[in-house]
């Protein structure tokens, strides 16, 4: 028997070592969806002969800045000293993924808003906004002012789409890298976490988009894409686990958290079964039988995407190098 006593605080509770909670898990989830939406939107505008999208598809890009704002609100809530948040933009720390993230987020906003604006205008054609009433003149003034900008954006549409694609990918990868560079948490410490989070984010985004009244063609496209993404995600998860299993003792004990430890049941049911296997089968069956992908599988994918982040955030903090942390 090995007995540990740590005077730091209570061994397993360690309140002062509380690091990240649900806010971060939620932020990572929303960030992943935002990344996916941006990638998909970017791809749509990069396509050679863009067919007219459904109204829902045209409006969906707005979710990028919206969900990101929501996510950043949670991120901000998690800060212990929130009114020092401006410090993020006083420096650029090359070695800090969080610093990268902060600057990426800064770039994501204009890019995603611009593309959403263009997408909306494109879909609706005519003037937007109130045509009469007290605000109409202001609106008119604004649209006129923005017309120039819009023209410029349209002229550089491919660049804008590319920037969305790249920023979206960066955002998706960064959420994984943020955890992946923590050498102190063996469960996270894998270069695969970046791609994994990107792919999972895209899969979640596809599922998220499927919740809206898209056209049949769009649904089939997203369903097919999601199917591929799920397969890739499963492959990445498998590689991530193989990587942990073949690394040192700390990584192995970290892996044991999800293969026989306290996070096992939740990981395999929510992430693997509910989030991956079942939707995979469901979507495959749907597409195979020529049906339009429905929403059930999409909801499951979203549940799985959130569960992946939630479990990774908490299990990762429970993993550690020193034996007392791995015990948790």
């Amino acid at each position: 028997m090995t007995e540990l006593e740590s005077g730091r605080n209570h061994l397993l509770i360690d309140p002062s070592l509380h690091v990240w909670g649900w806010q971060i898990a939620l932020y990572l989830f929303l960030g992943g969806i935002v990344a996916g939406i941006m990638v998909f939107t970017g791809l749509r505008f990069l396509g050679r002969t863009p067919r007219p999208p459904s109204l829902a598809m045209a409006l969906i890009p707005w979710f990028a800045p919206l969900l990101l704002s929501l996510g950043m609100l949670f991120l901000w809530l998690d800060l212990e000293h929130p009114f020092n948040a401006w410090r993020f933009y006083m420096v650029f720390q090359v070695s800090s993924p969080m610093s990268w993230g902060a600057w990426i987020l800064l770039a994501v906003y204009p890019s995603s808003v611009a593309l959403a604006w263009v997408s909306t205008r494109e879909a609706l054609g005519g003037p937007l906004g109130p045509r009469d009433g007290p605000w109409s003149s202001l609106w008119l003034w604004l649209t006129r002012r923005l017309a120039g900008v819009e023209g410029w954006l349209r002229a550089h549409l491919r660049g804008l789409a590319l920037s969305n694609l790249l920023l979206g990918s960066a955002l998706g990868i960064y959420t994984g890298i943020l955890l992946g560079t923590m050498a102190a948490r063996p469960l996270w410490n894998s270069p695969l976490l970046g791609p994994l989070f990107l792919v999972s984010g895209m899969s979640s985004a596809a599922a998220f988009m499927l919740l809206y009244p898209l056209s049949e063609r769009e649904r089939v496209f997203l369903g097919r894409t999601d199917l591929t993404l799920i397969l890739v995600e499963m492959g990445l998860l498998f590689l991530w686990m193989v990587g942990l299993a073949s690394a040192g003792a700390a990584s192995q004990s970290a892996l044991a958290l999800v293969t026989g430890g306290p996070f096992t049941a939740s990981f395999w049911s929510f992430v693997v079964a509910v989030g991956l296997v079942v939707p995979l089968v469901a979507e495959w069956v749907e597409l195979r039988h020529g049906q339009v992908p429905g929403r059930s599988a999409a909801v499951l994918v979203l549940i799985g995407g959130f569960a992946l982040r939630w479990i990774l955030v908490f299990a990762g903090q429970a993993s550690g190098w020193s034996s007392e942390m791995a015990l948790m």
Partner: protein, 784 residues
Amino acid sequence: MKRRTFIRLGSAGAIGAATVSGLTTNWFGFYESRGKDPQTEGERVVPSFCELCFWKCGILVHVREGRVTKIKGNPKDPLSNGHLCPRGAGGAGILYDPDRLKKPLIRRSKRGGDAFEDVSWDAALDVVAENFERIKARWGAGALALFSHGYGGNWMKHLFRAYGSPNIAAPSYAQCRGPRDVGFDLTFGWGVGSPENTDIAHTRCLVLVGSHLGENMHNTQVQEFAQAIRRGATIIVVDPRFSVAAGKSHEWLPIRPGTDLALLLAWMHVLVEEGWYDKDYVEKYAFGFEQLQAHLRPYTPEWAYPRTGLDPEQIRRTARMMGGARPAVLVHPGRRVTWYGNDTQRSRAIAILNALLGSWGRKGGFFIPSALEIPPYEYPGYVDREVAPADRSEPSQYPLADEVLAQGLCQATIPTSLGDSRIKGWMVYGSNLPLTLPNPREVFRAVQELEFLVTVDILPSEIVGWSDVVLPESTYLERCDELLAPPWRVPYVAVRQEVVPPMYESRPGWWIARELGKRIGLPDFFPWADSMEYAKTRLEKAGLDCHTLQREGVILGAPQPIYFEEGAPAVFYTPSGKIELYSQRLAAHGFDPIPTWHDEEVEDPPPGYYRLLFGRSPVHSFGRTTNNRLLGQVMEENAVWVNRRVAEQWGLADGDRVYLQNQDGVRSSFSAPVKVTERIHPDAVYLVHGFGRKARGLSFAFGKGIDDAELITRYKTDPIMGGTGMNVNYVTFLRPSQVEPASGETGTVDTAAQSSGETGMMGEKTTPGGGAAATGTAGGEVTA
């Protein structure tokens, strides 16, 4: 101001602010990072000595803006050598304890009902003086008893001597170190005193019998313990618990509790039979070796094996280690040695073992200490003691006790079938009797019989809640005290001085004693203006400068020889003038003249019960510090140590909460978590003493952990000197579901209170009673 100017100024300001903020960023290369200075370095640093335990280390107290910020060791002090134990470092936690007694209190309902009224010092002292005089007039001075623990108690002792009562007791004698001092005195003619004259620093083999140095943080001893380890000394630890010291040892003997004497005899057998003892030393200084040799013959290690459960080979091996290291070998006498009622004999066995190894007066054994002579203050002379102390029912009882027995005074307070009680009033100074004396029921019974009870204390401890008058004393950081000049390696004197003025309406002990003395017609005994003037007078007589002492904290005297080989006199104050391996005094009183094993003295725990052992934590001095928030952060409650296999039997997991119930059906008032561990003998469970406090005034410590003292309803009295062996109680586990009504822990307190009667009244406590600092003695070393 013109509008234009305003705008111009405004924009200039904005640009300036922008520039400045830009300059602070990394972009400008001026983004300098800084740490923060915690601002705890003192504007004033006052030397004094510590009172968190009774070792009395020299300290330096930092004061900033009138607050004590931190306490450091005084490098000039020969006890602290500039280092402190955690308790000493956390002394400010007592000073700034929000639960402190703030005003004198007078009880306003039945005793234990615990309704008090704030009064002025004059009113409180008048009541005390009136009662002192009344008791003296009606019953004689001897009917008033003083229980004292802590250095400030010297003033009260002085008051009592002037008053004429011989009944001055410290629980630290019969509940703690008494048997050891008597045992060594019988053998060498010297007690080991405090601080002990153990030369741990230079020893080549240190043997600890139940002594848990490292958890028992008597500073200098632990410093020397580390030095001994660093020098590569062999460490042998006998303890049913794998203590920290055992963790440092080369040989750990996990002895069955209660059988230490058998091991000591077997060790001596090996030393004598195999010729490892110091023949020259024994021949020169010892008396009765032939008798000892004959006596030891049957005590082979194989004989000891079924009793102690220790491998005979390990007993032989360790004995040879000791023999090989002699004379620089030290079998430590321990500190709290009141375990099984045969403690004086066991201490004598330790003394004899040391004598065989030739360690007394030798480097690495026991040094011969010397003290600085500081003449006493001149007083008119104490009243002759006409009366004998009331602690024994007849003079022939405990014939070799050389101090007053605290539990004896407690018993003398209870009327017996033979007649009225002999003690009518108590003054309790810094001594929390319910946690200190064995069998708290007896204490509460005695308290109910009292005509008058006054406590002088710092915190509202349990005994305070039962008092008639409570006098709030200043902490050691707020008061001056008697000079300290203990016998030690070098003679020295240390001073305690007022670091910050007394908080609230607390007053120093010297002031309380003097004011009481004046009121009971003894002003001649308190001629000094204050304790500093008192100290100065004494120092001047000794030719020492008070200012130097106040500035430095200590003054060292000339070093004296401390080993026989250096020229220290080999004097033994025994009847034979030699080291008495065979004790004539014991023989004269009908006791075993050489320690003898009696199988019937050790009993096994009943099935399902475990022997309750208790000891210290390095961060606490028993109940004295459990309310100290600074120290409590590191250890807030105690845990019940249970052997892993026993825990498996009971289905107890680490951290499960349990209540303990002893063999007499007494249940602990609160629960504590189980510590499932390999570190304890399957026969025993272990608790750190001083937790499970029931005084509600102790808002931090209340209800945390289990109080071992309330489970000590039985004790075995040492027939030689009256020490109370307390490690003879057995406990079993109760789960909270077996104890608590649905409403939870609060309900429990009440139930527990009903079951034990006395505590019920403590439960009603509404005002802070008084309190205390000390629990003194019941802590101590675990042992076998």
